[in-house]
């Protein structure tokens, strides 16, 4: 047996290191490039009108995306109201009550599949359920589509976060005579509060940038959202429409909308980061 040469070992080590460093640089470079383009081209669209005025036809000066901004906020908020509680309680079932149940395995499995389902399929599904049946697009349908995307995300993080709470805490609560539901809501939730909040925030951040499900449900509109029972303006579909249009002023608006969404998601992610770090 001949000993392996040191030279070979070193060169392989160098190669692996070089490839992984290069890969990470490529990844970061693309990200920086995208961010740079969005900021560079989007910042010019930001002005008072952008945030306060309704859109104007191409070529007409002024106008903004106030309706789409409001629409995105309202649809996302409604989706959060529907999706987070359902996801939260599904997570509670998986982590706390489903232990003795045969149902928890299938629930977890389906939830994983749902998490990996392309969002456009959710969009088409809600289109068939809530748009075709009432024969018009609506902000509600959009909120429901986003909520469906949120449920498995929230359920999964909730389960993980609740599993991090030590059983000794559950035991001491139960040993004091605290009923099971109260142990979960009063004590386990309190212990996992930051994790649950973080998970919900990340789910909101994730859906606030979704386009495909809204394209089939909320569609888009140049008017104020009103009661959401008609096509509802929103930023992502606006980006889709405006960016594809031949008008430079609309394209400019699309850049502005892109920047705004990016900033929103960044803000939510930073909030989540901050919460998690404070946790220790």
């Amino acid at each position: 047996m001949k000993p392996r040469s040191n030279w070979t070992r070193r060169s392989i080590n160098f190669m692996v290191m070089a490839v992984s460093t290069l890969s990470s640089f490529i990844g970061i470079a693309v990200l920086v490039w995208v961010l740079y383009e969005i900021i560079y081209r989007g910042i010019g669209a930001f002005n008072w009108d952008f945030f306060t005025k309704l859109p104007t036809p191409p070529g007409v000066e002024g106008g903004g995306l106030a309706n789409a901004i409001l629409g995105t906020v309202v649809i996302t908020a409604l989706a959060t109201l529907i999706g987070v509680p359902i996801g939260l309680f599904a997570g509670v079932f998986l982590a706390e009550f489903g232990l003795r149940s045969k149902l928890s395995g299938p629930v977890r499995f389906v939830s994983n599949i749902l998490m990996g389902t392309p969002s456009i399929i959710i969009g088409v599904f809600v289109y068939a359920m809530l748009v075709v049946t009432v024969r018009h697009f609506s902000g509600y349908a959009g909120a429901v589509a986003l909520a469906i995307i949120m449920i498995p995300l929230v359920a999964r993080t909730t389960e993980d976060m609740l599993n991090l709470v030590p059983d000794t805490l559950r035991e001491s609560a139960l040993a004091l005579g605290v009923p099971r539901w109260k142990t979960t809501l009063d004590i386990v939730f309190k212990a996992a509060k930051k994790g649950l909040l973080t998970g919900s925030l990340l789910a909101v951040a994730r859906v606030s940038g979704e386009t495909a499900p809204l394209l089939f449900t909320a569609l888009n509109s140049p008017y104020w959202p009103g009661w959401l029972n008609k096509p509802t303006g929103n930023l992502t579909v606006t980006i889709y429409n405006y960016a594809m249009s031949p008008y430079t002023d609309w394209q400019q608006m699309a850049w502005g909308a892109s920047l705004l969404i990016t900033l929103g998601v960044l803000f939510l992610t930073l909030c989540a980061r901050f919460l998690l770090q404070e946790k220790k």
Binding site: T168, L169, L174, L176
Partner: protein
């Protein structure tokens, strides 16, 4: 098993039916004193799935006495006391068979109200586990849960519980700080305060001082001494000196069975069983 008949009759009528079974119970060779039985365990078997962890445990715990449970790791000490408040039911696949009578009421019966049972049988765990709340709320939580209580009385009772657990002087200025900010020993005394605030009848202590320093341990031992005036205490411990110091009775567990049970002096000075002697003299375990 020595148990004064007249006591058992007037206090726990249903115990009368157990007289016959007493023959099968572990022999206690001393103390026919006037102690009332608080918890009476008969032929308790315990299973983790298919694995049997306790075998025919039979023992009587006397009211207002400290009973220490000693034995090597994994011999079933904790498993045994975790049946008294049915806390094991949190987990899948764990089940207990046999009879545990608390003042004559069958703890393991499906009719037993768990919340009521756990109010009567408090528990302190090895790892201090304060709730994620303020020091005050940690103690007040159980009180509010079990009693309708006004704000002033609540404050009084919290203070009383903290005084009885010898923690008041250290925390009276920071009742609104999170309980988790306290040191390990203080946290454990907070847990004791939390448990005694609701006025239980029995206090189960599962190695309460194994995770804390000697000074805090000494405080907790003093506390046990003081608490037995009001409560029946069951103390699981790895520390034989501790058992000898604080307990009135001692049960020696080995491989899920109760090898010997008796007055603590007797167990430590002239154990009847060879296994007990070997363990106490440090020949194994």
């Amino acid at each position: 098993m020595m148990m004064p008949a007249e006591k058992s009759d007037n206090l726990f009528c249903s115990l009368a039916g157990l007289v016959d079974e007493r023959k099968t119970s572990t022999t206690v060779d001393s103390d026919p004193s006037k102690q009332a039985v608080k918890i009476s365990v008969r032929n308790l078997n315990f299973f983790y799935g298919h694995h049997q962890a306790l075998f025919d445990n039979t023992i009587d715990l006397f009211a207002n006495q400290v009973t220490a449970i000693i034995g090597p790791s994994g011999c079933g000490k904790s498993t045994h006391i975790r049946t008294y408040n049915r806390i094991f039911e949190l987990y899948r696949n764990q089940k207990a068979q046999g009879q545990i009578l608390l003042d004559g009421e069958d703890v393991l019966s499906p009719e037993m109200n768990l919340i009521d049972l756990r109010k009567r049988v408090g528990m302190i765990f090895q790892k201090p586990s304060p709730f994620p709340m303020t020091i005050f709320e940690n103690v007040a939580y159980g009180l509010r849960l079990h009693y309708r209580i006004g704000r002033n009385e609540l404050a009084d009772r919290v203070e009383m519980a903290l005084k009885r657990s010898a923690l008041w002087d250290e925390v009276q200025d920071k009742l609104d700080r999170p309980g988790t900010e306290l040191s390990g020993g203080q946290q454990q005394r907070l847990c004791i305060a939390r448990a005694i605030a609701v006025e239980p009848e029995v206090l189960l202590m599962d190695e309460p001082s194994s995770a804390i320093d000697p000074v805090a341990t000494a405080k907790i031992e003093d506390l046990i001494e003081a608490l037995k005036e009001k409560y029946t205490i069951v103390l699981v411990t790895h520390n034989m000196q501790q058992a000898a110091r604080v307990s009135d009775y001692t049960a020696f567990f080995y491989n899920g069975s109760i090898v010997e049970f008796g007055r603590t002096e007797q167990i430590f000075k002239k154990p009847a069983m060879k296994q007990t002697e070997d363990y106490i003299t440090g020949r194994f375990g």
